[in-house]
Symmetry: C2
Subunit: 336 residues, 2 copies
Amino acid sequence: MGEFDLIRRYFTRPSPGAVVGVGDDCAILQTAPGMQLAISTDMLVEGRHFFSDVDPHALGHKALAVNLSDLAACGARPLAFTLALALPSADGAWLRPFSAGLWELADAHGCELIGGDTTRGPLNLCITVFGEVPGDAAGPARTQALLRSGAQAGDDVYVSGTLGEAALGLQHLQGRLQLDALAAAACRARLERPTPRVALGLALRGIASACADVSDGLLGDLGHILERSAVGAQLDDAALLACCPWASSGMDAQHVRDCVLNGGDDYELVFTAAPEYAAAVTAAAHASGTPVRRIGRIDALPGLRVVDSAGQAMAASRQGFDHFAPADARPRSTAP
Amino acid sequence: MGEFDLIRRYFTRPSPGAVVGVGDDCAILQTAPGMQLAISTDMLVEGRHFFSDVDPHALGHKALAVNLSDLAACGARPLAFTLALALPSADGAWLRPFSAGLWELADAHGCELIGGDTTRGPLNLCITVFGEVPGDAAGPARTQALLRSGAQAGDDVYVSGTLGEAALGLQHLQGRLQLDALAAAACRARLERPTPRVALGLALRGIASACADVSDGLLGDLGHILERSAVGAQLDDAALLACCPWASSGMDAQHVRDCVLNGGDDYELVFTAAPEYAAAVTAAAHASGTPVRRIGRIDALPGLRVVDSAGQAMAASRQGFDHFAPADARPRSTAP
């Protein structure tokens, strides 16, 4: 199978939402007047972000999911994506399930594949995704997108869904932890088929003061919000533990806490909102069918503190995954 | 150096043209009312698209140049790009010249870096570039972009600049061909620092009936125009040879012809225009400071024919580079 056959067979479908889709030098998108295009790109490398023997259907899902999660974190409606793919060979037995996993998630979000690139090389997937957010009537340099920079002292801090399960699933796959069959299946599904919180992101427009997706671990990603908003935060330990459904199953609390704070690969949203929006946050969670939990509050004092039920400060260890930090200092949750 | 240090040090600059640039989950671009966004993505893999010991400054230039060339082929004005980068390590001695080469070309085209991703892995560069083209008053599903699909029987076929030099430069580097010092320097510069024909692409809006960039070889890329326009073409052998400035330097004519037709990595534009636009094509070439040469004409008979000065058909051998074709059938010009 040649390059153009490969594109035609697995990655070409009509894209009625685009002026020009796959097959020309560029794709052409037109957004409605007053709408802005949100753009994000994520690269997944074999042996770094996924195991060599990962189910290709799950990989197709995840490659797009991690990008949709960035749109969700901005409150953007998915429109389209491009796919650049380096492959050791053009293997239909791999490409068929990979493209099926990709299309299923793309179709679920009405997100059209409009172009890309394929080449031979070590397995590497690079997706760039495009979403639409309304512009702000206050001017062209303003946006209604959810940014990392809007958190203010006094805001509540929330997370969606569950945290730490992807890390537990990885540890189980690596043989570093023994989960029972139920927990293993649930945690592995979260690792391999994360759910981008697109509907919640859309519902939080005009409500959340800041938002990010939890890809590198809660401490790291909330840390980005704190840094860009020039604020600090205090998190409740009990609320953090409650973010992991397996905290009460006899697992060591410190281990669960570490997975919740530093696990990475959760693709949930962490966001802030003023206390007067608490009911609106609840309504957004209901409307989008996404569980949301308050885990603490923003304060003016820089840094991030975790407090126990008596209000005593606990140590908050690492600060999110860094691909280029020394390996011994910051182990990667998803690296083999 | 950590991931966020790496981004801050080498890949963060103000991007006043974007609503949101580097540092949030998504970049946000707003194009003017009636304008469309042209989007293209290209991935460059070590050992496949460039040698491991390539000058990083030249690589930074080329990684962006091959993407800008796609915008040029659509007649789009460069706006912004994202960069996804897999690196074996965060090495400042490599990143400094790489980012300098990238910024120099980006600045020359007013193209802002608005986001991306960095990860550890086998060296891989994936750029997605965004350009602006006017919408068409005839409706939102129309565009003023130059597409591959508009060539008509009777149109003239043109190419910009020179063809075959990048292939000669590669063969010289590989020791498969001995060029004199002058030719070697010129051909190597064309291989390592291609010139995206952005100004010509802009000048050809409303003049060219179809356009593509020559990245995989003239036969392959013109072949895309013929296929999508459902036409054929006849090319003049003498005009093809004249596209390579080294054709008259005693080199074997068949070898030069092969480099011109199949060389790849030229990043020139191949385009078609109705005969009544011949003067407008010349004016566009002058206005953009880009040499343009007529090499043949479009006809209704499918396929591509090369004719000699007596009008006799010659064999047109290969049809452009395919990354997944068997290696013995279609050698890659730029693979080691």
